[in-house]
């Protein structure tokens, strides 16, 4: 199969074409492996060119990913990947730019850049690998760690409450926000695809297991036996319903949302998920259903709304100026202020 982009034929690729020759050096059993696999499987499906695909990351275990993709890539500095990617995406809009980082990388040191990349709606795909811990520096708490957590830097328990990346992204006006987890490759692949297809900034939070420093952080919601009752699968246009027998659902309540028994409220009371809504308040309310991955937690696309994309708007402005004033000429630029002859 070949896909066509801009009317040109893109050669077919296989998973192996997207694997670089570098040895993958995550701890055995790390959730990062399955995320990498999902990406390498997705790329051939997207029918994109390797040379037009760029992965940019910050620092952390997650941030090593670009080395393993046979594309262009930059492993940059802690927290700054969204900024670097912004410059690249603006300069070269024809490239597909992916940003990779962990929860410490994106939410702590790089929180400011994440917010601004999202609110500008720059055309980049941000994958936030959330393991609720600092992996690379060997086990300090992160902004998403749960209150009371004992780590090397919080030996008597973490005082702060966890940060909710989806809420943050929606608050930052993100036009595409999704959540997935490393135990479900198909779902990850689907979320990554949706992020790719979205015009503008997209953020996908991936619950990722760090089996060395925070093993099982998500097992309360992702383990096979609890999954059906703990994962709320958001699907556009469908009622928000979950549970092994579909016994639970999400209903509106006091301007927000809450979980109810279908038996109590009836099917028709369930909220129908609309990811395209311009008003992000329902998506935000859904993101507040679970304070952390301990109670039933929504996964899927929270929001996929249309908003002007920054790079395109910039390009339009530049083109408009060029059309109006013509191509710049240095000799006239130097004479643009009053001049005199001697």
């Amino acid at each position: 199969m070949t896909a066509t982009m801009n009317n040109e034929v893109v050669p077919e690729t296989k998973r192996a074409d997207w694997q670089s020759d570098q040895e993958v050096r995550w701890c055995p059993g790390c959730g990062d492996y399955s995320i990498l696999t999902a990406l390498q499987l997705l790329m051939p499906e997207l029918g994109v060119r390797r040379e037009n695909t760029v992965f940019i990351s910050g620092i952390g275990c997650a941030a090593r990913l670009p080395y393993y993709m046979n594309t262009y890539g930059m492993h940059s500095i802690h927290g700054r990947a969204p900024a670097i990617a912004t410059g690249l995406a603006m300069a070269r809009p024809e490239l597909d730019v992916w940003v990779i980082g962990g929860d410490g990388d994106m939410l702590s040191i790089g929180g400011n850049h994440l917010i601004h990349a999202l609110r500008r709606n720059i055309n980049i795909n941000i994958l936030l690998f959330n393991n609720q811990i600092y992996g690379l520096t060997k086990g300090q708490f992160s902004p998403t760690s749960e209150t009371g957590k004992v780590t090397k830097s919080s030996p008597v328990g973490l005082i702060a409450e966890p940060f909710n990346p989806v809420s943050l992204a929606l608050g930052a006006e993100a036009s595409f926000v999704a959540r997935t987890h490393d135990m479900d490759r198909k779902h990850m692949q689907e979320m990554f695809r949706r992020a790719y297809e979205h015009d503008g900034a997209s953020l996908v939070e991936v619950y990722q297991n760090c089996n060395v420093f925070n093993d099982g952080a998500f097992s309360t919601i992702t383990k096979k036996d609890v999954r059906d009752d703990m994962l709320i699968d958001l699907r556009h246009g469908e009622r928000i319903q979950f549970g092994s027998e579909g016994q639970y659902g999400v209903v509106s309540c006091d301007g927000g949302v809450e979980i109810a028994n279908v038996a109590d409220v009836g099917l028709d009371a369930l909220l129908v998920h609309d990811e395209t809504r311009q008003d992000p308040s329902t998506a935000f309310a859904l993101s507040r259903l679970a304070a952390g991955p301990t109670t039933p937690t929504p996964v899927g696309v929270f929001r996929a709304a249309k908003r002007a994309e920054y790079g395109a708007a910039m390009a339009t402005q530049v083109a408009a100026v060029a059309a109006e004033s013509g191509k710049g000429d240095i000799a006239s630029l130097l004479r643009s202020q009053p001049t005199w002859e001697v």
């Binding site: 670089s20 570098q22 060119r49 390797r50 040379e51 037009n52 760029v54 992965f55 940019i56 620092i59 670009p66 080395y67 993709m69 046979n70 594309t71 262009y72 890539g73 930059m74 492993h75 940059s76 500095i77 700054r80 900024a83 670097i84 990617a85 912004t86 410059g87 690249l88 995406a89 603006m90 300069a91 070269r92 024809e94 490239l95 400011n112 850049h113 917010i115 601004h116 910039m314 402005q317 530049v318 100026v321 060029a322 004033s325 013509g326 191509k327 710049g328 240095i330 000799a331 630029l333 130097l334 004479r335 202020q337 009053p338 001049t339 005199w340 002859e341 001697v342």
Partner: protein, 641 residues
């Protein structure tokens, strides 16, 4: 360029008054220094700027020094709110805005109080008398009226004019509101001073039309105020104050009056054209660098993208991303911003990607003196990153030279694939001078090549791409994203030379550290030129904006018979190859700097010469006069020992 003559840039007393051929009644002086001082709300920068423009049109050589407060709006009438603009105009080539003003305009008591001490002995003060009432006097800290009592104005000539009331009077019949009339009083001052120095009137009138076009009452008020000032000169019989500074014998060509930030921005735009690359400026506003963003934002038609980021780290990050994508990435800032950018500069140098970091230095540390100049970031530019992380440094010497320095910084960045620091300062940024425009066709193109083919064979004889294969100057191969087959990953972790693969091998790291140092050493920079008494025992070594004051001071000292040589550094890393030779065998190497001796430290360390520092860290540039004195003292002091 301009023929150098050092006639009488010194003190006030030395004005050569001669009869002019053109206007026999108006005596001519060879130069004059005027300082406009008033409250921040009085429009003194504008007044100075207009006077400068008219003088430039008249053909004078000139140099300006805007000196404004840090507060956008300090309480009106207070010392903190005094805003001043000094300009020296001359009939010969000058390098500085001059030491002591011959004429000072004081729009209120605070301006008089804060700036009178600068006035040359016997100088003239033009005072807006209307503002010398109790409230303003108290705000300025006077418990008397210096126009009536005290010794403040002793020894100077005072022209006390009720500018506010005369302006209101002139505007009355036009139907201008008293408040708007009051705002025009700076044009009264401009009119008066323009009359005194026979400045052409049309440029100012045209400017008023262009600036306030459509707002007829404002146009009328400003023109009326200007004329009232002009007429006041005639009628108040200030004829004996009237002098002319004739046009300077400048080399023929087209001139424009330019400040450092504008010419620096134009240099960046030109570099983009010379390299045939789009420019990407990633930046965050900070005084005194912000005008570069303002200027570049206007030039989209040159393929310039300006990105006002969320902070300086994002600014440089975005610029680096654009560089990675094959654009000319530039970031602009001042000292505190450089501090924030240093980690990304380290990344850029590890990635060996082109990037230009423009820093317009201001007084530090921390917020320091945002609106005042200093040149104390040299060591930060040189060493302010972690690890062994050399970065080339280029520093302009005059406002117009910022154009050349900007092109040079871009040339080094693009052809050597390295971040480059372009180190200007607040004094150059805002100061202006007439600039003979270069012939654009004479500017050298910047050759940039990106790799598009495999450059290596692996053990099995298969083609591959190695991003860290180098040429004879140790410049690495660069393939930009979008280039088929040459996909590769780069990052800040140490890389194996050649392949670019991650490597923690100790010998490889040692090798890479040495390569990164050597590739900066191999950048070709022009030899430093020695001027003055080339073989003198005394060498003055300067860098950056001190060039003007040093050149003027040396002109005076050499005029007095002292033998002195002068060398000026445009490249501070690497140093010019002949610098060691130039320093050798001198009895004195004196280094004037607006810091506590940073270049001295570098010179001492590198060449083991007993360089002596001449420091100034008051937020003000050196004047030629104080350099003259200090150089003499230092030379004599040494001799006595």
């Amino acid at each position: 360029m301009i023929q150098k003559t050092f006639s009488n840039e010194a003190g006030n007393g030395g004005n050569n008054v001669t009869e002019t051929a053109t206007e026999p009644t108006v005596p001519a002086v060879d130069r004059v220094i005027i300082r406009f001082a008033g409250d921040s709300g009085d429009g003194m920068q504008l007044t100075g700027d207009r006077f400068t423009s008219a003088s430039a049109m008249h053909g004078n050589d000139l140099a300006t020094f805007p000196d404004y407060p840090a507060e956008i709006r300090a309480p009106a009438g207070t010392l903190a709110g005094v805003s001043a603009f000094q300009v020296q105009i001359s009939d010969h080539d000058i390098m500085t805005p001059g030491d002591a003003p011959d004429v000072m305009v004081a729009m209120n008591p605070a301006a008089l109080k804060s700036d009178l001490h600068r006035l040359a002995p016997g100088g003239t003060v033009i005072i807006n008398r209307d503002t010398f009432e109790e409230r303003n006097l108290t705000k300025a800290g006077y418990d008397y009226n210096p126009l009536e009592e005290g010794d403040d104005l002793k020894g100077c000539r005072v022209i006390s004019v009720p500018m506010t009331s005369l302006t209101k009077e002139a505007c009355k019949e036009l139907g201008v509101k008293p408040r708007d009339a009051d705002r025009s009083k700076n044009f009264f001052a401009l009119g008066l001073v323009s009359w005194m120095y026979s400045r052409p009137v049309e440029p100012t009138m045209d400017w008023i039309d262009a600036k306030f076009g459509g707002r007829d009452l404002i146009v009328a008020a400003n023109k009326a105020a200007f004329s009232a000032g002009h007429i006041y000169g005639e009628t108040a019989e200030l004829g004996d104050q009237r002098v002319i500074v004739k046009a300077a014998p400048l080399e023929s060509g087209t001139y424009t009056n330019v400040n450092g930030n504008t010419s620096l921005s134009w240099g960046l735009v030109a570099a983009g054209q010379l390299a045939n690359l789009p420019i990407f400026l990633g930046t965050y506003p900070i005084t005194p660098a912000t005008d570069i963003l303002h200027e570049l934002a206007k030039h989209k038609s040159f393929g310039v993208t300006t990105f006002q980021a969320e902070d300086e780290i994002a600014g440089i990050g975005a610029a680096l991303g654009a560089s990675f994508g094959g654009h000319l990435g530039i970031t602009s800032t001042s000292g505190p911003g450089v501090a924030l950018k240093s980690e990304t500069m380290g990344l850029a140098l590890s990635l060996e990607l082109p990037l230009v970091i423009v820093s317009i230095q201001r007084g530090g540390p921390s917020t320091g003196l945002p609106t005042k100049t200093e040149a104390a970031d040299l060591l930060m530019a040189m060493y302010g990153r972690h690890g062994e992380s050399p970065i080339p440094i280029v520093a302009p010497r005059t406002p117009s030279d910022c154009f050349n320095a900007a092109i040079e910084a871009c040339r080094i960045a693009l052809t050597h694939r390295t971040p480059v620091m372009l180190l200007s300062d607040g004094y150059l940024a805002n100061g202006s001078e007439p600039w003979r425009l270069p012939d654009v066709d004479d500017l050298e193109p910047i050759e940039v090549t990106y790799t598009t083919e495999f450059n290596h064979k692996n053990a099995d004889g298969e083609d591959e791409y190695w991003p860290y294969l180098r040429d004879e100057k140790l410049v690495r191969s660069m393939a930009i994203p979008g280039t088929p087959d040459l996909m590769h990953r780069i990052g800040g972790i140490e890389k194996e030379d050649g392949s670019g693969n991650i490597s923690y091998d100790p010998t490889n790291h040692a090798k890479m550290v040495e390569i990164r140092a050597e590739r900066i050493r191999r950048i070709e920079v022009p030899d430093v030129e020695v001027v003055g008494d080339v073989d003198a025992d005394v060498l003055i070594l300067g860098w950056g904006s001190t060039w003007g004051a040093i050149t003027s001071a040396l002109g005076r000292l050499r005029g007095e018979g002292h033998k002195i040589a002068h060398a000026h550094l445009t490249h501070l890393n690497p140093f010019p190859a002949n610098l060691g030779e130039v320093l050798k065998g001198r009895t004195h190497v004196l280094i004037p700097e607006m810091n506590l001796g940073q270049l001295s430290l570098m010179i001492r360390a590198e060449f083991l010469v007993d360089a002596q520092s001449i420091s100034k860290v008051s937020g003000q540039p050196f004047t030629a006069g104080e350099l003259e004195t200090t150089i003499l003292e230092t030379m004599n002091g040494e001799a006595k020992q």
